[in-house]
């Protein structure tokens, strides 16, 4: 299979369709739709990790000048729901309410105020008197399922909508199990077995734009929700259910959004804001402040992974154990699917094992809720497996690169994990059709100078030690047999095309990438495509931006749609050229007949709109994927550890990534670079610190440390082309995979530098120093 093709629009760095408008500050985000007539919504947040609301007295707040309304749980419909923006019916427990009667973490919703200004709304919050019955909280997931643990979801209207394990009476939010072969038997036979426990910590997405929406009623009484979301269609459905109103009364529009990373794959603001519009009849704006963004949105799930890997003396992996205790916090949003992904996106990479034992146990605690976050469980899973493989390589006295090379999955191969683990149900069997991992390893090694690394070990300072680590990764592209995307295209008389899609550009550039796919198919410049996306009234359905699906799945829909339109153009062209459709060819913005005569797209459009057999050249098409072809990547990290302070600094980081055809190479590199830096930041500094009462104490950028430009190491991204036949023009996904590497690659490099295994993230100076002292 040829790995490169000749393309004119895809695989090119065309101008990002919204790039210049953004660089000039002209394109609009949600806040820019504020007109000044909105009420401002604020939420009274629970000060307790676990408490029952006995009574709320909002009379004083309601009486304040400028306060339009106060809503408590007594005023809104009580509909058990999940905030997870997933395919319906969701494999997440329906365990949350618009306003709960019982609060389950510090920062949970208690009441809502709408007032003429934010300051007034905040002042009103202080006037609401709440009488709590404070309950004992569960603050450690290891305690959640103990006999005497307090029950967090003890209200009987919590339920699931599909048959998934859910035992709230013992704080079990969900669970999954998969056994292939006999683990104990295989481990017994192995020459080398390594076992250890890893712990991946809470973390936050930190989009620069917080969650924000503005909801107003249009003149027909419909709710128009302008919101910073990754999932406009799920927002429409969930808000309709929460408010017990028909979906036809709701329109959701996503304008430009300031980053999401999974955090906006949740319906956290729109329901209560819509309820407030219904209550007051006024437009209402709700924007999280930074504390709410950290403490009351969603997080990377905290996972504790009990791991074992066994191999023969040659390093062939025979058995893998991955038993996970996942802390979903107060609510079970995405919980089952995230824990499934810790296995399903990770274990197939080492597909030759005779035995695999995978268990995921998801427990509730009275801490902030987990949810979708770039990497979605795979980040945690890769930390464990790729660090453990480094331990195995050491036991075997083998180069960690060689260990990966003899074990990783290859083209034409499959893994039993694909069929066994899906999204809350069984998965989908698949054979790998494109795998550039060998090439990623080779090119990454070369660029990093892996074989020459010993020459760089000497730092000239006895307190500074240098080390080198690596890891390999795969992810997926969309959720097979579940997720659906659609697009529609119509032709205009100047030969341009409107491309309408449900797909959600959250800053990733999907409007551009999908326009390129349409342009390639239609043989026009990308500039002739006018994209419009994510408006539930105007664009066809799409599940939204998640699961590394947009380029692959929405791209397939766009390509299919554009092909349909192209066929109509050819047909019309043949008619105009008075020849058979089989005798015409698509040229650049024209159709050519057999004797060289041509009609331009503009002529074709004018002909079909005004002249003969008049009809709109247009199509809409849908796509559902039957596979989730993985992108692959190899990561290499060079780290220097200050043995006096314990501080680890990444000096150089190389990722070589196979995303199939990169539709827009620069944007694809940008996805890798952004994901890797987020991963490095997660590995070294990002964590949630809780008080003994379960309150998040570092809910600000002043103490939740994220990497900035000055912290950036020397970073190199290499795109390794392959061609995925099932993807649009050979494309696979690229957005998530990069975040999975830094935890293990850096942990391995730290070990290589100073001989301590960092098995709990993040690898902060104090933790490293403590490990060094032991």
């Amino acid at each position: 299979m040829s790995k490169t093709r000749d393309f004119s629009e895809v695989n090119q760095n065309v101008e990002k369709v919204d790039g210049m408008a953004l660089a000039c500050g002209q394109d609009k985000y949600v806040a820019d739709f504020e007109t000044g007539d909105e009420l401002h919504l604020k939420i009274l947040r629970s000060p307790h990790a676990h408490a029952r609301i006995k009574n709320i007295d909002a009379s004083e707040a309601e009486a304040m000048d400028g306060v339009a309304a106060v809503l408590t749980h007594e005023d809104v419909p009580r509909v058990a729901q999940t905030t997870a923006g997933q395919g319906y019916p969701e494999p997440s427990p329906y365990d949350s309410f618009m306003l709960p009667r019982k609060v389950r973490f510090v920062g949970d919703r208690v009441a809502a105020v709408a007032a003429e200004s934010e300051a007034l709304a905040e002042a009103a919050l202080e006037k609401i008197e709440v009488d709590y019955e404070v309950l004992e909280p569960v603050l450690d997931p290891r305690d959640s399922m103990k006999e005497d643990a307090p029950v967090i979801h003890d209200e009987d209207d919590c339920h699931t909508v599909i048959p998934i394990p859910f035992e709230p009476e013992r704080n079990l939010a969900s669970s999954v199990e998969f056994e292939h072969g006999d683990l104990e038997e295989e481990l017994e036979k192995c020459d080398v077995v390594v076992e250890n426990e890893y712990e991946a910590q809470y973390a936050h997405h930190c989009p620069v734009e917080p969650h924000i929406c503005i909801v107003r009623k249009d003149p027909h009484g419909r709710l128009v929700i302008t919101t910073s979301t990754q999932v406009p269609f799920h927002v429409r459905r969930i808000v309709a259910e929460r408010l017990e109103m028909p979906e036809k009364k709701i329109r959701v529009i996503k304008p430009r959004i300031g980053g999401g990373f999974g955090g906006k794959q949740e319906v956290l603001i729109e329901d209560i804001t819509a309820a407030m519009v219904l209550e007051t009849g006024r437009p209402v704006k709700f924007e999280f402040n930074r504390r709410e963004e950290f403490a009351s949105s969603r997080t990377r799930n905290h996972e504790i992974l009990d791991m074992a890997v066994g191999a023969d003396t040659d390093g062939r992996i025979q058995a893998i154990k991955m038993h996970i205790l996942m802390n979903t916090g107060a609510y079970g949003s995405h919980c089952l699917t995230i824990v499934c992904n810790s296995g399903s996106k990770v274990l197939p990479l080492y597909n030759k094992a005779n035995a695999i034992s995978f268990k995921g146990t998801v427990v509730y605690t009275n801490l902030p809720s987990g949810g979708a976050y770039r990497g979605y469980g795979a980040t945690q899973g890769y930390f464990a497996i790729e660090s453990l493989l480094d331990e195995l390589a050491e036991e075997l006295d083998m180069d960690p690169v060689e260990l990966r090379k003899i074990n990783h999955i290859r083209e034409g191969e499959t893994s039993p994990v694909f069929a066994a683990l899906g999204e809350g149900k069984e998965g989908v069997e698949q054979t790998i059709e494109s795998c550039g991992l060998e090439e990623c390893i080779e090119q990454g090694k070369e660029a990093f100078g892996w074989d020459e690394r010993e020459k760089r070990r000497e730092t000239g300072d006895k307190t500074k030690k240098r080390g080198f680590g690596m890891c390999t990764l795969m992810q997926g592209s969309s959720i097979p047999e579940i997720d659906m995307a659609a697009a529609s295209i119509k032709m205009n008389e100047d030969g341009s095309f409107n491309l309408h899609m449900g797909a959600t550009d959250l800053g990733t550039g999907s409007d551009t990438v999908l326009s390129q796919i349409a342009a390639e198919t239609l043989a026009v410049p990308t500039d002739d495509i006018i994209p419009y996306s994510s408006d539930t009234d105007m664009t066809p359905f799409d599940v939204g931006a998640y699961a590394s699906s947009t380029t692959y799945l929405s791209g397939r829909a766009v390509k299919k749609c554009a092909s349909n339109v192209r066929d109509q153009i050819l047909e019309r062209g043949a008619k105009m050229l008075e020849c058979d459709v089989d005798d015409v060819e698509l040229g650049y913005k024209e159709v050519a007949g057999p004797d060289g005569e041509t009609v331009s797209f503009s002529e074709i459009a004018v002909h079909s709109l005004y002249e003969a057999d008049q009809r709109q050249i247009a199509a809409h098409e849908s796509s559902i994927s039957h596979k989730s072809p993985p992108p692959f990547s190899a990561h290499f990290a060079e780290v220097e550890v200050d043995t006096e302070t314990g501080k680890a600094e990444v000096l150089r980081y190389v990722n070589a990534t196979d995303c199939g055809t990169a539709i827009h190479p620069r944007l694809a590199e940008g996805q890798c670079e952004g994901a890797v830096l987020n991963g490095i930041s997660y590995a070294l500094t990002e964590e949630f610190q809780f008080s003994s009462k379960g309150k998040l104490v570092n809910a600000s950028f002043d103490s939740y440390n994220v990497y900035k430009m000055t912290d950036l190491p020397d970073m190199e991204t290499i795109l390794v082309p392959t061609y995925e036949n099932t993807g649009p023009y050979g494309a696979k996904s690229v957005s998530e995979i990069g975040i999975n590497g830094p935890l293990p690659a850096i942990s391995n490099a730290i070990y290589d530098a100073v001989g301590v295994r960092m098995r709990t993230g993040p690898f902060t100076p104090d933790r490293i120093l403590e490990a060094l002292e032991e």
Binding site: E644, T685, V697
Partner: protein
């Protein structure tokens, strides 16, 4: 700031003194980076010091004088400060906050509020600086030791205006070294160590060690300084002095680091900065 109703813009220090003393509930405004996002119900008026003429850094026969509203960027770029005691204060200012914040944060604001992000107090202790305060009664001069002994708000009345920091003559040619230990670049210090040193050959003539952010107040370590004076500064002494500092400087837990870790840092950073100051 829901009750804030007045914004006074005095054009001289005298006028500022008058404005701040005129009514209760008025507060002084310097850079505003802290105050503008402070939720205070009791503040009814602000007295902006921007135009009172305190944004100088100047050479005077008795001292180098830093006006209270001089911003970090000015400190960083001041050749006077770059050439004073190994450029310690210029180095410190260069690591405060981020580029836009360094255009906003003032010397007076940084020391008067004395919060976890206040990087100037510890080096000012090490430099034996003096802080000038003006009120209706006149001007008072506080040695840094006294000014930072407890939180300055316990020493100052609401109507006191910190006007100037004075750096003493006689130590211009001392060398110095500074480390602000942070988790990521623009984060607040876990702990900072400033060393100001005067050597004759390998022998220490004078030395001051300032430790910041380890506890709510910055600290000197006289026990360590005594150990060093008249001694030969080498690696083993630096190490010993680090240990002395660790044992004598109080540390407390906060979200940037545990007291225990800060103590370990103090030991290592004192040693490192002593040796660096020696060779710089």
């Amino acid at each position: 700031m829901q009750n804030l109703k007045e914004f006074e813009r005095p054009q001289s220090l005298d006028e500022a003194v008058e404005k701040i003393s005129a009514k209760p509930g008025r507060r002084l405004l310097a850079g505003g980076t802290g105050l503008s996002i402070t939720d205070s119900k009791t503040t009814i008026g602000l007295v902006d010091l921007k135009s009172v003429g305190l944004d100088y850094i100047e050479d005077d026969s008795d001292a180098i004088k830093i006006g209270a509203t001089a911003v970090m960027r000015a400190l960083e770029e001041s050749s006077l400060l770059q050439n004073y005691a190994g450029g310690l204060l210029a180095d410190v200012a260069a690591e405060v906050g981020t580029t836009p914040l360094r255009n906003m944060i003032t010397a007076g604001g940084n020391i008067t509020q004395l919060r976890v992000w206040s990087d100037l107090p510890a080096p000012l202790l090490a430099l034996d600086a003096e802080i000038l305060v003006t009120d209706q009664e006149g001007e008072t001069t506080y040695p840094a030791q006294k000014f930072f002994h407890r939180h300055p708000s316990q020493l100052l009345d609401d109507t006191d205006i910190v006007t100037e920091i004075q750096l003493p003559r006689g130590i211009e040619n001392y060398s110095s070294s500074y480390t602000k230990f942070v988790a990521v670049d623009d984060s607040y210090a876990v702990t900072s160590v400033s060393v100001v040193l005067d050597m004759e050959g390998d022998t220490v003539k004078d030395v001051r060690i300032g430790v910041g952010s380890a506890s709510p107040s910055p600290a000197r370590c006289p026990e360590a300084e005594e150990e060093l004076v008249d001694a030969e500064l080498n690696e083993s002494l630096a190490e010993k002095v680090g240990e002395i500092c660790r044992a004598n400087v109080n540390t407390t837990d906060n979200v940037w680091g545990s007291g225990d870790y800060k103590s370990k840092l103090i030991e290592k950073l004192v040693k490192k900065n002593l040796l660096q100051a020696k060779t710089s």
